[in-house]
Symmetry: C2
Subunit: 170 residues, 2 copies
């Protein structure tokens, strides 16, 4: 079973957390929500999901996780203004661990400067930023590139969940 680090704060896209969480847990994987602080209540941008964070970023060792999960909404843009989340994310690229990023999730990877040549997708508004960051962008429901799984919107969740679960060790 895999240990998945989920980096997330307020204004996340509610279903882009809850739906993959359900898919991961159904297969026996664990998801640890990492925010600036542990035990903080963070709320989705639609007010549908409230989540208590499991771990503060200062206590989070990326080496102890098998995969990275970045839900969308406006949460990723808030996180990428904090160097600790950027450094945390880079670990998963350097060590070829799976990364699951949906909607605005890839914004954190832009700031981590790890997208050159990667095949991927993202929310329509950030596709230009992904191209500028060197990514090869496709307008598909899901793109899988050597463990990097990306999708565009909540409408893509079935494909996103299916391909993300495939990257994890049973």
């Amino acid at each position: 079973m895999s240990r998945i680090a989920c980096v997330m704060t307020n204004m996340f896209e509610d279903s882009e957390y809850t739906s993959p969480l359900e898919a991961f847990e159904k297969e026996g994987h664990t998801v640890t929500v990492i925010e600036k602080e542990k035990g903080k209540k963070v709320t989705g941008k639609n007010g549908e999901a409230e989540v208590e964070t499991d771990m503060g970023i200062d206590d989070a060792d990326p080496a102890s996780f098998d995969a990275l999960f970045i839900p969308g909404g406006f949460s990723p843009d808030i996180l990428r203004a904090d160097d600790r989340f950027v450094a945390f994310s880079k670990h998963f690229v350097l060590h070829d661990k799976p990364i699951f990023a949906i909607c605005h999730g890839p914004q954190l990877l832009i700031t981590a400067d790890v997208l050159y040549g990667r095949k991927m997708t993202g929310f329509v508004s950030i596709q230009v930023d992904l191209r500028h960051a060197g990514a090869v962008v496709f307008d598909e429901e899901v793109v899988v590139d050597h463990g990097l799984v990306t999708s565009r919107t909540p409408h893509d969740l079935d494909a996103f969940n299916r391909e993300s679960v495939k990257q994890l060790k049973a």
Copy 2:
């Protein structure tokens, strides 16, 4: 006196609309809030400002305005997913009219593909996207480049308002 087009929707950064508005109106300029629809109530991300929109984008002729104002928050990222707002914004660059963009405001100009070689700033999280889009980025409270006035956060509003007003015809 100048006619200023303000493109804005929900989740704008409250004070980045209300403070420049006050500065512009104090000097006798007029501000027209343009959204997808006319007469819609849009709310700032902090819930402090609620604004009724003046004009729908389909009825907005950029040629009838002297300047463009793009408040920040998450509004600009929503607007840039709509080609009509992107096309509207390009007019002001093509015709060398003043543009005032604060915080996430420049995201709309990234999608408009008009930033190559421009000196500017923006919210810390999007500075990487501005550089990738070809801009020359400075971490200053305000940057003025041939009518393009940009700032980083609400803390920069005094400088942003002062330099923006200077670009308008009295």
